[in-house]
């Protein structure tokens, strides 16, 4: 899952980015509203974590622009302003959630997970495909009751494919949602990660779940 952080206070921005990357997300960060808007308009983020008081373009204005353009990213507004009025303004402008500074990082993680589920219209934190279970809360997966030993990147790829179960996901889309700007671009990185993931998920099982559609991309699901 790919996230964007727009926050001007450097220590908070850097810590958030580090914490979220440690939690397995692909994270981009911007320190002002103008850059934030550019990032959001040019990358398909799943969740945008947005500060309100920003130089250049404030968070509410950025949110308004995103929603006016029909951007589907879930937006978590992060602010030190906690009056009812501020919350109402933010939610009315199309924010999906609201967190007042200072906050517990665990709570932020939980809210980000919930926003990702809502992004893919899921209620359950555990996605089940045949005998494969992807637990988005614990960020773990198991197949036929046996836990899979996945790296953070492999898990990210699996979770995105799981959210899009039954759909063909293009390589570009997969790249966009599982890798951030900091990742080395190069398509064989994705090939390597996918082949490792496939080995861990499908080896030793009769029903293969990860399928390659030549020239189109990948699909997670049972073939009928």
């Amino acid at each position: 899952m790919r996230l964007l952080i727009v926050e001007d206070y450097a220590p908070l921005r850097d810590s958030l980015a580090r914490g979220l990357r440690d939690a397995g997300y692909a994270v981009d960060a911007a320190d002002n509203g103008v850059d934030g808007l550019w990032y959001a308009e040019n990358h398909p983020y799943d969740v945008v974590i947005l500060d309100v008081m920003l130089p250049g373009l404030d968070g509410f204005a950025l949110l308004g622009r995103l929603r006016a353009a029909g951007n589907a990213a879930r937006v978590l507004v992060l602010t030190a302003r906690d009056t009812v009025n501020d919350r109402v303004t933010g939610l009315d402008l199309g924010a999906d959630d609201y967190l007042v500074k200072p906050f517990a990082f665990d709570e932020l993680l939980a809210r980000v997970r919930a926003l990702v589920r809502r992004r893919y219209e899921r209620v359950e934190p555990v996605i089940r495909i045949a005998d494969l279970e992807v637990d988005t809360r614990a960020r773990r997966a198991q197949r036929a009751g046996r836990p899979l030993d996945l790296s953070a990147r492999e898990y990210a790829l699996l979770e995105y494919l799981a959210h899009r179960v039954g759909h063909i996901v293009s390589r570009g889309e997969l790249w966009d949602h599982a890798y951030d700007e900091a990742a080395e671009p190069g398509s064989n990185v994705l090939d390597v990660h996918i082949s490792r993931l496939r080995k861990k998920v499908d080896d030793g099982h009769d029903g293969k779940l990860i399928h390659t559609r030549r020239g189109q991309g990948y699909m997670l699901g049972e073939l009928r």
Binding site: D8, Y9, P11, L12, D14, S15, L16, R18, G19, D22, D31, G33, M53, L54, P55, G56, L57, D58, L78, A80, R81, T83, V100, K101, P102, F103, A104, F105, D106, L108
Partner: protein
């Protein structure tokens, strides 16, 4: 506590009662006067009738005065000897002409009328020894009774009038003072959450228009001041929450991670927050008037260098050049710690807001104790007056650094004033901005 209503009622009643009493006396005197004149005329007529019975015989006079109930008379010969007295009159009366007051022989107050006359004698010339004198006196109970009646009626009417006037005054005052009661009720409803209320000016009596207008102005000032205070508190809480959020997230992420945490970054945040809390405390003490001022001889150039040190890295990172042009021997006698805060805030402000690639120059002279000029950006004239306001932010959405919730320059000016210095800001028109400290 004296009430206007009671005072006005009592005062007007005393005035009216005084007027009524004076009027009563005047009326009583006038009525008595008229009654006395009538009484005198009657006495005179009776005296003339009595005088008609006097006779002149053989060079002497003869007069037999009859007894009259309640009245006395006495007659004198031209030589002053007593000619006759009414029976029962044993002491002499005063021999006087015209009407006069006296005490009757039986002790009653009375009125007398004296007349001179010459008894007629057929066929003879009037005698050469002059006229006789007759005085007739009578009690004046009648006159006194008339006066008493007038007085009694007047007293009753006066008391009634007084009661009516008192009631009317009290009623009118109660009505006239009703707007005051309404104002009091309206003011009692106002608390700090309802300061937007204004008292109605229409339908107020003329006397209340000025106080109501003044109260409304006071309310407007209170409202503005409460709004400023609220905004300031909100800003302070925002500026404290942002670094606190940074610190908490930094520590939580570090705790979760097997890699060592960034202690230097955490320390930087704590130092930043300490600075903010320090400034807030200083500001509170300044507001409370609890600042003790000390005096040291301070070398200005060294002080400026020391104040600049914390911002050197920031300025260097932004490509801002710093020039300390103060002569090495320039000095000032002032409070070192407080002057350091003032200069530190000016330099911090300049370091933060001067455009990338610009410069900051500190000088003395030209009437200034200290002058911090930077290359811009310019501050618009309209905002220049507000930079020292406690919550001013040139751009509400400026980078949140934790120390710029509009405290720095406000604190600097407050401290400067305590040190006997004036802190002013000036835009030069070419983009340069100067902050100057001058002797007050």
């Amino acid at each position: 506590m004296s009430s206007i209503r009671a005072r006005l009622t009592v005062t007007s009643l005393v005035a009216v009662a005084g007027g009524l009493i004076a009027l009563a006396f005047a009326l009583y005197a006038a009525v008595r006067d008229v009654a006395l004149q009538e009484h005198d005329a009657e006495l005179r007529a009776r005296a003339e009738a009595l005088s008609a019975i006097a006779e002149r015989e053989d060079g002497g006079y003869e007069l037999n005065l009859p007894a009259m109930p309640g009245a006395f008379a006495q007659a004198w010969r031209p030589d002053g000897s007593v000619l006759a007295r009414t029976p029962g009159l044993v002491t002499d009366m005063e021999m006087r002409l015209g009407g006069f007051d006296l005490t009757l022989a039986d002790g009653r107050p009375g009125r007398a009328y004296g007349m001179a006359f010459t008894p007629r004698e057929e066929g003879r010339q009037p005698p050469a020894d002059g006229p006789l004198v007759l005085v007739l006196a009578e009690g004046i109970e009648e006159v006194e009774r008339t006066g008493a009646v007038v007085r009694a009626r007047f007293l009753v009417l006066g008391a009634l009038a007084l009661a009516a006037i008192g009631a009317l005054t009290a009623w009118t005052l109660a009505r006239a003072l009703r707007p005051l009661g309404a104002l009091t009720a309206a003011l009692a409803e106002i608390d700090d959450s309802r300061l937007a209320v204004r008292l109605p000016l229409a339908d107020q009596p003329a006397e209340l228009v000025a106080p109501v207008r003044t109260l409304n102005e006071l309310l407007a000032r209170l409202e503005a001041s409460f709004a400023r205070e609220r905004q300031f508190t909100a800003n302070v809480s925002h500026e404290l929450r942002t670094p606190l959020a940074g610190l908490r997230t930094l520590l939580e992420v570090s705790v979760r991670s097997p890699k060592p945490g960034d202690a230097a970054a955490a320390l930087a945040i704590v130092v930043e927050m300490c600075g903010l809390v320090e400034s807030l405390l200083l500001l509170a003490r300044l507001d409370g008037g609890q600042l003790a001022i000390e005096r040291d001889d301070i070398a200005l150039a060294a002080l400026v260098d020391a104040c600049w040190a914390p911002y050197q890295a920031l300025a260097a990172a932004r490509g801002v050049a710093f020039r300390n042009r103060i002569a090495a021997d320039a000095g000032i006698a002032s409070d070192r710690d407080k002057l350091r805060v003032v200069v530190g805030n000016l330099l911090s402000n300049a370091a933060e807001y001067t455009d990338r690639g610009g410069w900051i120059e500190v000088t003395t002279g030209d009437g200034a104790v200290l002058d911090v000029t930077d290359s811009g950006p310019a501050i618009p004239e309209a905002e220049l007056a507000r930079v020292f306001d406690r919550m001013w932010r040139g751009d509400a959405a400026r980078a949140a650094t934790g120390v710029h919730c509009g405290i720095g320059l406000s604190l600097a000016r407050g401290l400067a004033t305590q040190l006997g210095l004036a802190l002013t800001a000036r835009s030069h028109g070419d983009g340069r901005v100067s902050f100057r400290l001058t002797e007050l």
